[in-house]
C-alpha cells in the first residue's frame, strides 16, 4: 500500500534547485531511509512532505506530493490538518521549556482537549509508548529541559505521536545522541513501525541499513536510487550509490 507518492517534484530556494524531478513511492507502515551526502536534498525532501519548507522565504515547489492520494500542494490545502497527519521529529531534541506533562499535553490541548484526567491518560499512554513512563512518572512536573538528550528526543517523539499522526518524519533524529542512545531510539522506531509510516533522514549508513525497509539514495537534488534496503546495500544498481555506500564518495 503506498502512503506517500511524489511525482515530478521540483523545489527551488530562490534560483537554486534543491530537488530535481523526484519520484518516490513510500509504503505504509514501513521505515524508509533517505541517505546521501550533506546538501543532497534529503532533508529538503523530508520537509517537503509536511510543507515545513513553506516557512522559508522564496521557496517554490512544482510537481505533486500525494498523501493518501491527495495532492498536498493543491491550493487550499489545510496545513494544520496536513501536519497533524504528517508530523516531524527534529535533529536536535526540541522540547518546549515546559514540564514533561505539558510537553506531551501541548498537542492535544491546543487541539481542544481540556479535561485534565483525559490529558493525564494521554500523557501516561504516550510516555509508555516511548518507554519513558517508568522513569518519569514521578517527575511529570519537572522541566523537560532537565532530561538527558536521549530522554528529550523520546519525549519529542511521544509529544508527536500524542497528536495521532499517520506519518512520522525524522530528520537525523539520532545525530545529537551517543551510540547506545542511538541504538535504543532505533529499537523504538522498530516498535513504532507497527502503527506509523516512518521516514528517516540519516547520514549514518549503518543506521539506514539497520532500521529501514526501503532506502533512497540522493545526490545533488536527485533521487539516484530507490529500492529495498537489502538490495540497495548489497546490490546497488547505480554506480554512484555503490561508490557512496562503499565509502568512496561523500
Amino acid at each position: 500500500m503506498s502512503k506517500i507518492e511524489t511525482k515530478n517534484l521540483d523545489l527551488f530556494y530562490g534560483t537554486f534547485q534543491a530537488l530535481i524531478d523526484v519520484d518516490l513511492v513510500i509504503k505504509e507502515k514501513m521505515i524508509t531511509a533517505l541517505i546521501g551526502p550533506s546538501g543532497c536534498g534529503k532533508s529538503t525532501l523530508l520537509r517537503a512532505l509536511n510543507r515545513m519548507n513553506d516557512l522559508i522565504d522564496g521557496v517554490k515547489v512544482t510537481g505533486k506530493v500525494l498523501i493518501d492520494g491527495k495532492n498536498i500542494y493543491e491550493p487550499g490545502t489545510d496545513l494544520v490538518e496536513l501536519r497533524k497527519k504528517v508530523g516531524m521529529v527534529f535533529q536536535r531534541p526540541n522540547p518546549f521549556p515546559l514540564s514533561v506533562f505539558d510537553n506531551i499535553a501541548y498537542g492535544p490541548r491546543t487541539h481542544g482537549l481540556k479535561d485534565r484526567g483525559k490529558l493525564g491518560e494521554i500523557v501516561e499512554r504516550f510516555l509508555s509508548r516511548v518507554q519513558l513512563w517508568d522513569v518519569l512518572k514521578d517527575r511529570l512536573e519537572d522541566s523537560a529541559l532537565d532530561l538527558s538528550l536521549e530522554q528529550q528526543q523520546r519525549l519529542c517523539i511521544a509529544r508527536l505521536v500524542a497528536v495521532m499522526p499517520d506519518v512520522v518524519l525524522m530528520d537525523e533524529p539520532c545525530s545529537a545522541l551517543d551510540p547506545l542512545a542511538t541504538q535504543r531510539i532505533e529499537e523504538l522506531m522498530f516498535e513504532l513501525k507497527k502503527d506509523y509510516t516512518i521516514l528517516i533522514v540519516t547520514h549514518n549508513m549503518q543506521q539506514a541499513a539497520r532500521v529501514s525497509d526501503w532506502t533512497g539514495f540522493m545526490l545533488l537534488g536527485k533521487l539516484v536510487e530507490y529500492g529495498e534496503t537489502k538490495q540497495v546495500f548489497t546490490n546497488p544498481q547505480e554506480k554512484q550509490t555503490e561508490e557512496y555506500i562503499t565509502g568512496r564518495y561523500g
Binding site: 497527519k85 516531524m88 487541539h111 499522526p165
Partner: protein, 283 residues
C-alpha cells in the same frame, strides 16, 4: 619627543580610563546633591498631602498620583499596540517595501524631539479630537512616545525565541497563531515586560509632551476621570523652580528626588525581572 611603545600604551590607557570615569561624575553629583538637599523635605506628609499656599507648603500628593495615572494609562495603550505591531513584523510580515516603511517610521518616531510630541498631542488629541487638556490626551501622547521603545524591545524578544520551538509546534499541526500564543509569546514575555518598563521610565520624567496636553499648573485635588487635568511631577518641578517665587529650595529638591526615585525604582524592577528570567532561562 619620542616615547617607547610601552609608555605610549600607558598614556593611552590612562586617557581612556579618565574618559570613562568622567561619565560617572555627573551621576554621582546629581544623586548626591538631590539626596543632600532633598532628603530633609521628604516626609510622610510631603508624599501624601495636597500642596498649600500656592505650592509653597504642603505635599506633592496630586503630582505623584497624576504621574502614576499618566504612566498607567499610557502603557495600557502603548503595550498592546506595540506588542501586536512587533508580532506582526516578526511573525507574519514578509520583507517588502511596506514593512520597511513601517520600520523606518518606528526608528524616526524614536528620534522626534519630545516637545514636538507635545505640540502634536495638542493638535491631534486636545484640539482635533476635542479631548481637551486631559489625562486621556496626555497619556495618548506619552503612549506614542513609548511605542518605538516597546516595539523594538518586543521585536528583539520575539526574535530571540528559538526557531526550533516554532517548528516543533507547527510540526504538531498547531496553527501559526496558536504557536505564537502558546509558545512564542510566553517565552518572549520577560523581554517584552522589560521593554515596557523601560518605556514607562523614559516617559515618566518627560515634561514637554504633557505640558500642553494635560499638566495642571496648580490643582490641589485628585483627578476624577481620564477627562480631568492633573498635576504631574516633572511639570510640578518645572513650575516650582521657575514660575513660583519664594519657594523653599527643599521643596524643589524633594520633588526632584521623588521623581528620580520613581524612575530609578522602575528601572530597578526592569533589571530584576530581566535578571531573574535570565537565570531561569535554559535555552
Amino acid at each position: 619627543m619620542k616615547f617607547k611603545p610601552q609608555t605610549k600604551q600607558k598614556i593611552a590607557f590612562i586617557l581612556l580610563g579618565i574618559a570613562a570615569s568622567i561619565v560617572i561624575i555627573p551621576v554621582i553629583l546629581i544623586l548626591a546633591i538631590l539626596i543632600q538637599r532633598g532628603l530633609p523635605a521628604i516626609s510622610w506628609q510631603f508624599l501624601t498631602e495636597m500642596p498649600r499656599m500656592g505650592m509653597r507648603a504642603g505635599g506633592i500628593f496630586p503630582a505623584i498620583v497624576g504621574t502614576l495615572c499618566l504612566v498607567f494609562c499610557a502603557i495600557s495603550v502603548a503595550l498592546p499596540l506595540g506588542v501586536l505591531t512587533a508580532v506582526y513584523l516578526v511573525e507574519y510580515a514578509k520583507r517588502n517595501w511596506w514593512t520597511r516603511m513601517i520600520e523606518i517610521a518606528i526608528v524616526n518616531l524614536a528620534g522626534v524631539p519630545s516637545v514636538v510630541y507635545g505640540l502634536f498631542g495638542l493638535g491631534l488629541f486636545v484640539i482635533f479630537f476635542q479631548f481637551g487638556s486631559s489625562i486621556l490626551a496626555g497619556a495618548l501622547t506619552l503612549a506614542i512616545m513609548e511605542l518605538p521603545v516597546i516595539i523594538t524591545s518586543s521585536k528583539e524578544a520575539l526574535m530571540s525565541v528559538p526557531r526550533s520551538f516554532r517548528e516543533a509546534s507547527l510540526a504538531l499541526g498547531v496553527s501559526r497563531w496558536q504557536t505564537i500564543r502558546h509558545v512564542v509569546l510566553p517565552n518572549a514575555l520577560p523581554g517584552i515586560l522589560t521593554g515596557a518598563i523601560l518605556g514607562i521610565s523614559r516617559t515618566a520624567g518627560e515634561t514637554a509632551p504633557i505640558l500642553f496636553t494635560v499638566a495642571a499648573f496648580y490643582l490641589p485635588r485628585l483627578p476624577k476621570s481620564i477627562f480631568d487635568q492633573c498635576m504631574a511631577l516633572p511639570y510640578h518641578l518645572y513650575v516650582l523652580s521657575t514660575q513660583v517665587p519664594n519657594v523653599k529650595p527643599a521643596l524643589q529638591y524633594g520633588t526632584a528626588l521623588v521623581l528620580v526615585g520613581m524612575v530609578f525604582l522602575l528601572n530597578l524592577v526592569a533589571i530584576i525581572v530581566r535578571a531573574r528570567i535570565r537565570s531561569k532561562k535554559q535555552w
